[in-house]
């Protein structure tokens, strides 16, 4: 009877664990794990992004109420910087093994711009390159550690590609529309994030350790911070980029 009860408890626990795993589709999030969070501040005068002349592409142009601009420096209303790729550069134990990638990462070409503008992916994870515009785009990846490629997408379609080696960053571009640029960070682990509309980022599920965190911006370069985490604690690492 006691044995049965123990088994029941174990069963419930297994179920609960399975449920927990199911409810957290994020592969990176090891149960418990530590979190590094922070904000990317921006100081100085906000630069103006170049305007895009989309007159050759009326279908794209129609998607904007005003004149669209490039997204080289996106400063949020709260004075923070978006599109900063923040990732664990070093510090993971040598034995660390990344989980199997769950699902694809999608890059969309919509309105003759890339969405998102900055993104991360695991080595071996599928990048689904979607053309929602239905006009000719070519998507060229200009990696150095990864083999570059250049494929044509003249219609609404999705092409899939994977990346074999860690590389921060692989530039992506369209040559039909010289203003279209995106940046892809390829990593052997899921500990990365991109600063969003409030300038914040959060890297979850880290094993205990001391990490070098790098923040990368396409115009302002990189900054690093060293953060030590233990257990399931949350530590803060803020970055600040200044106008050049």
């Amino acid at each position: 009877m006691r044995k049965l009860g123990l088994m029941a408890v174990a069963g419930v626990a297994v179920l609960a664990l399975a449920l927990a795993a199911w409810m957290r589709p994020q592969p990176s999030a090891e149960q418990g794990g530590a979190t590094i969070t922070g904000k990317v501040k921006f100081t100085g005068t906000k630069p103006t992004n170049p305007k895009i002349d989309m007159s050759e592409e009326p279908k794209c142009k129609a998607k904007y109420p005003g004149v669209p601009t490039e997204e080289i420096v996106v400063v949020n209303p709260n004075g923070t910087l978006a599109n900063v790729f923040v990732y664990v550069k070093s510090g993971l134990p040598a034995t660390y093994k990344a989980p199997e990638p769950a699902g694809d990462v999608t890059l969309d070409q919509d309105g003759c711009r890339y969405h998102p503008h900055v993104l991360g992916i695991l080595v071996g994870q599928k990048l689904a390159i979607k053309n929602s515009d239905g006009i000719l785009h070519n998507i060229k990846a200009k990696g150095v550690k990864n083999r570059p490629f250049n494929i044509s997408q003249p219609t609404v379609m999705t092409s899939e590609r994977t990346f074999t080696a860690p590389e921060v960053m692989v530039p992506l571009e369209c040559n039909v529309h010289g203003w279209m640029h995106a940046w892809l960070g390829v990593l052997p682990h899921p500990f990365f994030a991109v600063s969003g509309a409030d300038g914040s980022f959060s890297i979850k599920g880290l094993p205990p350790g001391t990490y070098t965190i790098e923040a990368w911006h396409e115009k302002y370069g990189t900054q690093t911070a060293t953060v030590t985490v233990a257990g399931s604690e949350t530590k803060t690492a803020d970055f600040s980029f200044a106008a050049k």
């Binding site: 050759e56 006009i135 000719l136 070519n138 998507i139 060229k140 990846a141 200009k142 150095v144 083999r147 570059p148 490629f149 250049n150 494929i151 044509s152 997408q153 003249p154 219609t155 379609m157 092409s159 590609r161 074999t164 040559n175 039909v176 529309h177 010289g178």
Partner: protein
């Protein structure tokens, strides 16, 4: 080394080169140490000691020599992003890359030397040593039935439009599409969308099959993408891609143009056509003259935009009409191309005293003659004459749109003469068509060439593309060729033989009659 021993070594090398190797396509067994020697001697001048495409001569080249360190190759049989096969590398070395400075090495280097150097090239990039890289040629289908008939080409043209080729290559395929001024290669150098009317300059050769292969593989390192995903996803059928290749092939002449030294200008009955689009030009033979960059005098120019001119000529015994047409992506000056021009100036080595700046220059054409025709072979200096021996030139500019005549006394001095040729010019989707007309005989016999029928009239051509920063000594030029104004065949040519035949026939008849008469008379006398 004695002459005998070196002869022996050469003999061995030749013998080794001619022995069939166990796996003719693999370079794995090649000697990279020997390959390095060949590389340093023959390749490093352009491609650089470290293979980074930055040899001493690289700066003057556009397209730049291949940078081997990234293992990115334009002409492959593999999918975009994949390494080339050994056979792909050998093909580039053996046959060269038309339209670039890369020559064909077959016949210049032995088989062993070429194979060794190809193996050495692979050592410049770690990708070739990476066993996880799968180098598998794409499975290419063979050309579908239906051939290259009008229907197939028409269908190909529909795909040219629907899949957006025109964005870079332009409506008529001369590399003048709206995205063309923004194009850069992966190293950031300016790059031109191919002029699809000059298939003899396609890097990977210009027959239908070559074009189809390039559509499937793309040209890695350039903006030209691969279209294989479209077939995989059934947006296009393989056959449709072949039709597109057939359409592209149809834009170029059936055979690469041959250079013929003498332009024959037939004499026609009516007035010579003054308009470039007069249908009469369709009945006149056209001649191709290749142009090269002016690299003799400062400022030298290594990246001429105009690769050659097509020339036609007719006359009516009083007036000459000369039609010159050439491919030029831009109707200069064109502000849309200023950025491209700036990048071009920064990329191509110049020997100007100050770094050149992008400016709005017009397009130009010069047609050059000597002032006088002589019976001998001596001609003025082909590069615009000399102070003591000027040449007579027609110069046309796109802005202001006019032509003048004058005397060039070397590259820097041009003195306009009062009488100008008449001119009509048309710019049409990346092509200039210009007709210059002038009286054969003019009053100013001291300065203006007198165009006489039946004489070999020396003629040379110069062209400038303003949007490529070409002006002054930055130009494309030809050597001297000849213009011959053909005389109509005199009626005597046709009448004399007939007369001669009639006379012969008449005389023959007389002789026969006389002989018959004599024979008849003799018979009688003998009875």
């Amino acid at each position: 080394m004695t002459a005998r021993s070196s002869a022996f070594v050469i003999g061995v090398l030749l013998a080794v080169g001619s022995i069939p190797l166990p796996s003719p396509l693999s370079l794995a067994a090649q000697d990279t140490t020997a390959g390095k020697k060949v590389y340093v001697k023959w390749c490093a001048g352009c491609h650089g000691e470290t293979g980074a495409g930055d040899g001493p001569a690289a700066g003057a080249m556009l397209p730049r020599p291949r940078n081997f360190t990234g293992a990115l190759y334009k002409i492959r049989s593999t999918a975009s992003g994949q390494l080339p096969t050994d056979a792909d590398l050998m093909r580039a070395i053996d046959e060269g890359l038309p339209g670039s400075a890369m020559p064909a090495w077959k016949g210049r280097l032995s088989d062993a030397e070429r194979r060794n150097v190809a193996a050495y090239l692979k050592t410049f990039s770690s990708f070739f040593a990476d066993t996880s890289q799968h180098v598998v040629p794409l499975k290419f289908s063979s050309a579908p039935g239906g051939g290259s008939g009008a229907a197939a080409i028409k269908e190909g043209r529909q795909f040219y439009d629907s899949i957006g080729c025109r964005k870079c290559h332009g409506d008529q395929g001369r590399g003048d599409g709206p995205s063309a001024p923004t194009l850069k290669d992966d190293a950031g150098f300016p790059i031109s969308a191919a002029d699809l009317h000059q298939n003899w300059r396609f890097r990977g050769a210009g027959e239908v099959e070559d074009i189809y292969h390039r559509l499937r593989t793309g040209l890695d390192g350039t903006p030209m993408p691969s279209f294989s995903d479209l077939i995989d996803q059934k947006f296009l059928t393989d056959e449709q891609l072949w039709r597109l290749a057939q359409y592209i092939r149809s834009l170029s002449p059936a055979k690469p143009p041959e250079v013929r030294d003498v332009i024959h200008a037939p004499q026609i009955a009516g007035k010579p056509p003054a308009s470039p689009d007069d249908s009469a030009w369709g009945r006149v033979d056209r001649y191709w003259f290749p142009l090269v960059g002016q690299v003799i005098r400062k400022a030298r120019w290594f990246a001429p935009a105009v690769s050659g001119v097509w020339v036609q000529a007719v006359h009516d015994g009083k007036t000459l009409a000369l039609r010159v047409s050439w491919d030029d992506r831009t109707q200069s000056p064109d502000t849309a191309w200023l950025g491209f021009e700036q990048r071009l100036m920064q990329t191509v080595t110049s020997d100007d005293s100050a770094p050149p700046k992008a400016e709005l220059w017009p397009d130009q054409l010069a047609v050059q003659f000597p002032r006088h025709l002589t019976d001998g072979m001596e001609r003025p200096y082909f590069l615009m004459g000399a102070a003591t021996d000027p040449v007579y030139q027609w110069r046309w500019t796109s802005q202001p749109r006019h032509a003048v005549a004058g005397l060039a006394r070397g590259i820097d001095q041009f003195d306009t003469l009062p009488e100008a040729p008449t001119v009509q010019a048309v710019f049409d989707h990346g092509e200039w068509r210009v007709v210059l007309t002038r009286a054969l005989a003019t009053p100013d016999t001291g300065n203006e060439v007198q165009l006489e029928a039946g004489r070999a009239i020396p003629v040379a051509f110069f062209a400038w593309d303003g949007s490529s920063g070409e002006h002054g000594s930055r130009m494309a030029l030809s050597t001297w060729y000849f213009l011959a104004l053909d005389r109509p065949t005199p009626p005597g040519v046709f009448i004399s033989p007939a007369l001669a035949m009639l006379v012969t026939l008449g005389l023959g008849l007389v002789v026969v009659r006389r002989a018959q008469r004599r024979g008849a008379g003799g018979g009688r006398s003998g009875v």
